[in-house]
């Protein structure tokens, strides 16, 4: 049952993905080229204005969308994969294994994101890979916890018991029974993690650990746009609008997904 909002969210996401694809072929020009005066308002040749280096905002925004989308979706997929393994094992096994994994996750929780970011940048060298790993480390604890909670529920189910009675080995139980049945939770969480991932990417840029210049990402653009909020409002407007729309759309679609995976319908209280 999809409501109009979820549908609108999907359309927005579709458009955003299209724009990202268009940027790959530099449809609107070279995002790195200095094309005009610095901080120029929208005009011919740079329809969304120029930035503080005189580059056209339009191709930069398009590149930003592509970068951020790719980065956060890969990161979120990695997070999902890792969380799935950790969460399912913890939820199914319980006991010491659960303690161990959950403590580990707690430890990650208490680590400041910036320390993680610096460390990760040290390991991978600053750049997309480091940003990716940072996003993963920041988003992993919450998702692992939620997957675990779901897995605990699934582990109680009779079909799991039946599999145990049949003598099934751990990989089969986890892979055939738990994973498919927590996949719904993961899928829903993925959309949330995606919006968190985009936000983290922005935060990393704020602290200077985002993608490397001159590459644009929404986080970088918004961070710069914020600095130039008063002198060149067009630097924040474009990326800002895209960002808000993207995150809202992802959230709304996530909500929709959630409602789909929740078969019981709430009754009206009237």
């Amino acid at each position: 049952m999809k409501d109009w909002l979820t549908r609108a969210g999907m359309v927005c996401l579709g458009l955003i993905v299209l724009v990202a694809l268009a940027s790959v072929v530099n449809l609107a020009g070279d995002p790195d080229e200095i094309v005009g005066p610095r901080l120029a308002p929208p005009g011919p040749g740079y329809w969304l204005g120029t930035d503080n280096l005189g580059r056209s905002m339009l191709p930069r925004i398009m590149e930003g969308i592509a970068t951020t989308l790719l980065l956060s979706s890969v990161a979120v997929l990695v997070t999902a994969a890792l969380s799935a393994v950790l969460g399912i094992v913890a939820g199914y096994r319980g006991g010491v294994v659960n303690e161990l994994i959950m403590r580990l996750v707690e430890v990650l929780y208490s680590f400041p994101a910036i320390v993680l970011a610096i460390l990760v940048a040290a390991v991978f060298g600053p750049g997309q890979l480091a940003a990716l790993a940072s996003i993963v480390l920041v988003t992993i604890p919450l998702m692992t916890r939620l997957v675990r909670a779901a897995a605990v529920g699934v582990a109680q189910r009779d079909y799991v018991t039946a599999a145990i009675i049949s003598g099934a080995r751990l990989p089969r139980i986890l892979g055939r029974h738990l994973l498919p049945n927590v996949a719904g939770t993961i899928a829903v969480q993925v959309t949330y993690a995606l919006s968190v991932g985009i936000a983290v990417e922005g935060g990393l840029s704020f602290l200077g650990f985002g993608v490397q210049p001159p590459q644009a990402s929404l986080g970088v653009l918004i961070q710069q746009g914020t600095t130039y909020m008063t002198a060149a409002p067009w630097m924040i407007t474009g990326p800002g609008v895209v960002f808000v729309v993207a995150v809202l759309a992802i959230n709304v679609v996530g909500d929709g997904l959630r409602d789909r995976f929740e078969p019981r319908q709430a009754r009206s209280l009237v």
Binding site: R103, P112, I114, G153, A266, L269
Partner: protein, 312 residues
């Protein structure tokens, strides 16, 4: 007796977590590129100066020895001194705690007072919840530094009546708390919505409707309590997150809080400060989780009754 045992168990688990955190952070700060020498003394420092610094803080010993010393000191309540200010880390953390503490507290309060009603509303009016869903989505979609910068700019340029920067008194924390809570409101609202929707399908809600109770009555007496558990759990997580995540707001509003202190220390590789700061965050996190367990136990008397309930 059992209670004591339970506490003992929790204490052991907490200690294990803290030990893990301490080992990791200890190793981590030393693994960070840019040693203390280049960073704290600058490029012009001579080899002698570096050696002296290393000697003063025992940084020339092996990491294991250092960790041992540090742990022993921590056990005595000594968290070391900052290499920059040469003041004990504890006193500076203590001085900054009120700022971050209040900031976090206010934000969590705001998040609860706004997010919970919003979540309940969007859940109850599930079919007409578009506005609520968009509103609660907005919180995640506006990065803190954007909102913070915007608020700081507007309130400082147009003298809108609230201080937008610096810390003088509690009034200085109004805007930062609002900015910080923006994100928290949104997840609180969403979690509340999920929880309430989960409760609304429960038979006891149907039973209440069947008795002819009014919606408001049902929400007040049945829904809120039962939806509280995930929300309380989340609030603890948010509190911990805000405590650490306050740093961007602290920067933008120039508040002397713990977040900015630790981040600055990270930037300078001021080891003792980073270690103490992270340990503090971990402690808060653990204590919060403990509180949540207790509160949740109070709310839901079933807790601890095992699998049974789910099976039948």
């Amino acid at each position: 007796m059992r209670l004591a045992l339970w506490w003992l168990g929790r204490a052991v688990s907490a200690a294990a977590t803290l030990l893990g955190v301490s080992i990791l952070i200890f190793a981590a700060v030393r693994m960070m590129p840019g040693g203390f020498a280049e960073t704290i003394l600058g490029p012009f420092a001579t080899a002698d100066q570096k050696a002296e610094l290393a000697d003063r803080y025992g940084l020339d010993q092996s990491v294991f020895v250092q960790y041992g010393h540090w742990l022993a000191a921590v056990a005595r309540g000594d968290f070391g001194v900052s290499m920059i200010s040469r003041e004990p880390v504890v006193s500076e953390l203590w001085a900054r705690l009120p700022v971050t503490g209040q900031l976090t507290l206010f934000s969590v309060l705001i998040a609860t007072l706004v997010g919970v009603p919003l979540g309940v509303l969007t859940a109850v009016r599930a079919r007409r919840a578009a506005v609520g869903r968009l509103l609660s989505g907005l919180g995640v979609s506006v990065p803190e530094f954007v909102l913070g910068s915007l608020v700081v700019f507007l309130f400082s340029r147009y003298a809108l009546g609230l201080p937008a920067g610096g810390y003088d008194n509690v009034r200085s924390l109004v805007l930062p708390s609002l900015v910080l809570s923006f994100f928290a409101i949104s997840i609180t609202a969403r979690t509340t919505r999920d929880a309430v929707m989960g409760v609304l399908v429960e038979p006891y809600v149907t039973a209440a409707v069947a008795r002819g109770e009014s919606p408001w009555f049902i929400i007040r007496h049945h829904v809120l309590r039962n939806a509280a558990i995930p929300v309380v759990t989340l609030l603890a997580t948010i509190t911990a997150y805000l405590l650490g995540g306050a740093l961007i707001v602290e920067y933008v509003f120039n508040l002397p809080g713990i977040g900015s202190y630790v981040v600055q220390a990270v930037g300078r590789r001021d080891y003792a400060v980073v270690q103490a700061g992270v340990l503090l965050a971990a402690t808060v996190f653990i204590v919060l989780n403990l509180l949540v367990d207790l509160v949740v136990g109070l709310i839901d008397p079933r807790l601890g009754v095992t699998s049974k309930g789910r099976r039948a």
